[in-house]
């Protein structure tokens, strides 16, 4: 006993030093408040889900690339502190603490696959409502930029992708060759289910098989790669293609007639395959439909995109600059199309941004998209284009915007629940264990101090944020931690009941309890780990804090509670079984002997009168 005498004290001192070191680390990191999650300080979380994946999960490198691009886009908007992370192999989560920015949804998630195509045919639609397609206005001098609807127009200000025309010494012309306004399907585009057109342009039914490989009427079966740029331009100028392609073009026209454009704001529901012709709608929601050639210029040829206001203009535009190859092709196209009624189209993610006519040859690879942009929508588009197209298509899976006042009351509720829960547990322990309850309170306090320090450190090191579920995890963990102490104390009491003196009982009870505590904590930790791996991000904080505290609990029980009880067992108050210590004989349910003595009748015959136990 004498050799052991100094041990508990030493352990306690070391343990205290460890906690001090933790706080020292937090101080060094300059972190005194835990980083709060979005739900506690307000903010925006956008979850993007990769779609059209083969095999169900995205290649990690593509996902990482997409993550980087999205990060650049978010940073490009001037939002600092945004965090972009991948999740679950096919999701990207953008978190913007402290700000309500649902307006960023479109620009972070858009694929931004920009392509130049030739317009082979088009049908002019009627807008669903207030907005009027920009009239074919000559855009030669920037002052006469097509204005589109005034910016006071309710829809155009909100919808960034409306009423655009491209100019670069070009003429924007909406009514395309052969199209009449008010063609049948465009009458009420807004009523159409938005998912309907998706099957039509791309997933061709192969109901018209033909023998000629090039002459199939099914566009999906035609080898379009053999179509030359000149032939394609011819299709745009004359509306006809060389023989092997003509049947397919007719089919495409038919598809266009059948296509029903979604209302504005609906996403592109067509599959944009660069090597294939495309039947799609104008992004402005006017219902204008196009048959487009295979892509002539890919977005990868884009060098830069900027949102600016040209001098002497009040309209925001997006300027594009193409690299050498792209510029050359663009020069060829504009040369052929100049001063004709033929159009080319700038297609973004399968939807036509604008389809201008050409009024001048552009050789320097500079083009611009204009019309109806607000500063915000122009910047958003330029930003999306600048950092390149995402290697994967994403759909918006969730947008969570947390207002500051709700976040505030959530934080308050979390803290209140914590205080309330802690008070209940402490009260219960004090009533039931009396003096020992104080040990529980002290242990909980130490565990709490350790947890707080670790949360600070993790916040500084791993940018761990405390969320509402995280707080719930902390509170729930109060119970788990208290459970360990209870297991220990009940064991201890068992040993005293078995006849051991208090001092002996502490050691014996501990030997038996520690395995149970370890097993039970291992189970809790296992649960937290599985939960952490398989839970969605939102509730991951819960699993994290739960697991964290389970580990802390083991440390506290081993290096604080046990040594403390060992020490206390030597004191007058506890060791002699004072009435309030929780160790008095009556409270333990034994009687007739003080807890300082062993109750073995065989050894101490004088105790034979202790009637409860001493039965011959």
């Amino acid at each position: 006993m004498a050799t052991k005498a100094s041990r508990p004290g030493r352990i306690l001192i070391v343990f205290g030093l460890v906690i001090l070191a933790l706080y020292g680390g937090a101080a060094a990191a300059g972190q005194w408040k835990p980083r709060l999650g979005l739900d506690l300080q307000g903010g925006t979380r956008i979850t993007l889900q990769a779609k059209d994946l083969e095999g169900g999960s995205a290649p990690q490198d593509k996902l990482d690339e997409a993550k980087d691009i999205i990060e650049q886009r978010v940073n490009g908007t001037g939002v600092s502190e945004a965090e972009v992370s991948t999740q679950g192999g096919d999701q990207i989560v953008v978190e913007i603490p402290g700000k309500q920015r649902q307006d960023l949804v479109e620009q972070v998630g858009r694929t931004a696959q920009l392509r130049f195509r030739l317009v082979w045919d088009s049908v002019q639609g009627q807008g669903p409502g207030p907005q009027v397609p920009p009239a074919p206005i000559i855009t030669l001098p920037p002052e006469t930029t097509p204005t589109g609807p005034p910016s006071g127009d309710a829809t155009s200000t909100k919808d960034s992708s409306k009423n655009r025309a491209v100019s670069g010494w070009m003429r924007a012309a909406k009514p395309g060759g052969g199209g009449k306004p008010g063609d049948k399907p465009s009458d009420k585009p807004s009523d159409q289910p938005t998912d309907k057109p998706s099957g039509q342009p791309s997933d061709q039914p192969t109901d018209q098989p033909t023998d000629q490989p090039g002459g199939s009427a099914d566009p999906a079966e035609v080898d379009w790669s053999a179509l030359t740029l000149d032939e394609s331009i011819g299709g745009s100028l004359q509306g006809t293609l060389p023989d092997p392609y003509q049947p397919a073009l007719d089919t495409l026209r038919q598809q266009m007639a059948d296509l029903q454009c979604p209302a504005s704001g609906a996403p592109a529901q067509v599959e944009d395959v660069p090597g294939q012709p495309l039947v799609t709608c104008d992004v402005d929601g006017s219902g204008t439909k196009y048959v487009l050639s295979p892509a002539v210029i890919e977005g990868t040829h884009l060098d830069d995109a900027q949102a600016t206001i040209p001098t002497q203009s009040i309209q925001w535009i997006v300027t594009l600059s193409l690299d050498g190859d792209g510029g050359d092709t663009f020069a060829t196209v504009t040369r052929e199309l100049v001063n004709t009624a033929a159009q080319f189209a700038i297609v973004l993610d399968g939807q036509v941004l604008s389809a201008p006519q050409v009024t001048g040859v552009i050789t320097d690879g500079n083009a611009q998209i204009e019309g109806g942009f607000t500063q915000q929508s122009a910047t958003s588009l330029a930003n999306s284009l600048k950092y390149g197209a995402l290697p994967l298509a994403f759909e918006v899976n969730g947008v969570e915007v947390q207002g500051p006042s709700l976040a505030g009351s959530q934080l308050n509720a979390g803290i209140l629940a914590g205080v309330f829960g802690l008070a209940l547990v402490v009260a219960y322990c004090l009533v039931y264990y009396r003096g020992l309850g104080l040990v529980i309170v002290a242990s909980l306090g130490v565990a709490g101090a350790m947890t707080y320090a670790l949360i600070l450190l993790l916040g500084a090191g791993l940018s761990f944020t405390l969320t509402l579920p995280g707080i719930a995890g902390l509170i729930v963990a109060i119970g788990i931690t208290a459970d360990s102490f209870i297991v220990f104390f009940e064991r201890l009491r068992d040993e005293v009941r078995d006849g051991k003196s208090l001092r002996l009982a502490v050691e014996a009870g501990w030997r038996r309890a520690r395995l149970t505590i370890l097993a039970a904590d291992a189970v809790s930790f296992l649960a937290a780990l599985v939960l952490y791996i398989f839970a969605i991000v939102v509730v991951r904080g819960f699993a994290f804090t739960l697991g964290l505290i389970t580990i802390i609990d083991v440390f506290v029980v081993f290096f604080f509670t046990k040594p403390l009880v060992s020490l206390l067992a030597r004191t007058q108050f506890f060791g002699r079984g004072h009435k309030l210590s929780g160790f008095d004989a009556k409270h333990l349910g034994i009687s007739g002997r003080p807890v300082t003595q062993t109750g073995r009748r065989t050894r101490e015959p004088s105790l034979a009168r202790t009637t409860t136990r001493g039965e011959a």
């Binding site: 947008v399 739960l546 039965e615």
Partner: protein, 392 residues
């Protein structure tokens, strides 16, 4: 409290004993009834899935939750010009907010509704837009997590207890808790959200915690059961459950108190939300877990164990010995106890009236015990103290 500790002491010595193991048929029946009711609930009523599983948009507007304001916001949404948002569900939530749920919307439309709500007088509006594919993923993940966890649990318990029978019993207890929790959700119509699912998975850990504590004691008491001819295996196990009863109650209460705190505070202040969903699932599950580790897991483990020839032979020997002892001296109690169940029901109503520990006539002949109640008078003591409470 003093009485409660006496109670604990009596439980520990076996003077007061609840027959958890022997009356297992009763407990099984009770649980079967509850589980059946829960299963029926699942069939009759669909679980009320939250917006996270169905897809849709949930707006939380900071506004005094009065019925008039609810109508104001409902009109605001209807008049916002977003067709897809028609027929929104508007409810009050907590002390300072109103909840608006709509069908799935595009972000542009959602923004329009946020503006409409703000114009209608809402302080600030939080929005949670969930794509339709989201819920499926959450559900899938939860399912995978459940399976992985169950497999790990079987492995862990097997590794810890070296006993597949205990693993099986623990798993059955877990399934029991899960079913009851889900059933209660079905019957009550509480909303099931990802937080609920998280709570559900956490229950697994909680329920197991209890089971581990009880099993630990069972294992300790039955370690050398073959050498102890005073108790059958199942009686030793039952003593273990009784000895850990106070502990089980205490740990369960300590676990439930904080959960209850979250439940109450979040329901009163925040209304619905992840905090409430989580704590509700935890509360129901933890309560069920405390019940099942005592009433289901141990009896089942014992039942499985009793099929072992070794255990069966031992039980036979104990009973034979007991019968022999009963035949010689006069002892009505022993006769009664010849049945393996071993505990007189009277013990449950009037503690300390009857010796619940098996009369072990090895040294002292069994005899009727005088009523002593809590008077701390002579109690029958048949085995030496050193051999009691730990059958090592």
């Amino acid at each position: 409290m003093g009485r409660l500790s006496n109670f604990g002491q009596h439980l520990y010595e076996g003077r007061v004993s609840f027959d958890f193991v022997g009356r297992r048929r009763l407990w099984y029946a009770v649980s079967a009834l509850i589980v059946l009711a829960c299963a029926a609930g699942l069939l009759v009523r669909e679980v009320n899935l939250g917006v996270e599983f169905k897809g849709g948009v949930e707006f939380t507007a900071t506004m005094e939750p009065t019925q008039a304001n609810v109508e104001v916001l409902r009109d605001a949404v209807t008049d916002a010009g977003v067709a897809a948002a028609g027929e929104p569900i508007v409810t009050t939530s907590g002390q300072e907010s109103i909840l608006v749920q709509t069908k799935p919307l595009e972000q542009a439309d959602a923004t329009r509704i946020v503006q409409a709500l703000t114009q209608a007088g809402a302080g600030d509006v939080s929005q949670n837009l969930i794509g339709p594919s989201w819920g499926k993923q959450v559900a899938n993940k939860a399912l995978i997590g459940l399976v992985v966890f169950l497999v790990l649990v079987v492995l862990f318990i097997w590794a810890y207890f070296r006993e597949w029978k205990m693993s099986v019993a623990a798993i059955v207890a877990l399934a029991h808790d899960l079913l009851i929790t889900i059933g209660i959700y079905a019957w009550s119509g509480f909303e099931v959200t990802p937080a609920t699912v998280t709570g559900l998975l956490t229950i697994l850990g909680f329920s197991l915690y209890d089971t581990v504590v009880v099993f630990d004691k069972v294992r300790e008491n039955t370690r050398n059961f073959a050498a102890n001819l005073t108790r059958t295996f199942s009686e030793s196990a039952n003593l273990a459950v009784n000895q850990t009863l106070v502990r089980s109650i205490n740990t369960s209460v300590a676990a439930l108190l904080p959960v209850a705190a979250i439940l109450i505070v979040s329901t009163v202040i925040l209304g619905s939300g992840p905090l409430k969903d989580l704590s509700l699932a935890l509360f129901v599950g933890t309560a069920a877990g405390a019940y099942s580790s005592i009433f289901i897991a141990t009896p089942l483990a014992v039942q499985l164990k009793e099929r072992e020839p070794l255990v069966r032979a031992h039980t036979k020997r104990v009973l034979a010995k007991r019968a022999k002892a009963a035949a010689a001296p006069v002892s009505p109690v022993v006769d009664e106890d010849a049945e393996p169940v071993g505990v007189t029901p009277a013990a449950r109503t009037s503690p300390a009236r009857t010796p619940t520990r098996k009369p072990a006539p090895a040294r002292a002949p069994a005899r009727k015990v005088t009523t002593s109640s809590a008077a701390k008078r002579s109690q029958p003591q048949r085995s030496p103290r050193s051999a009691r409470g730990k059958s090592r």
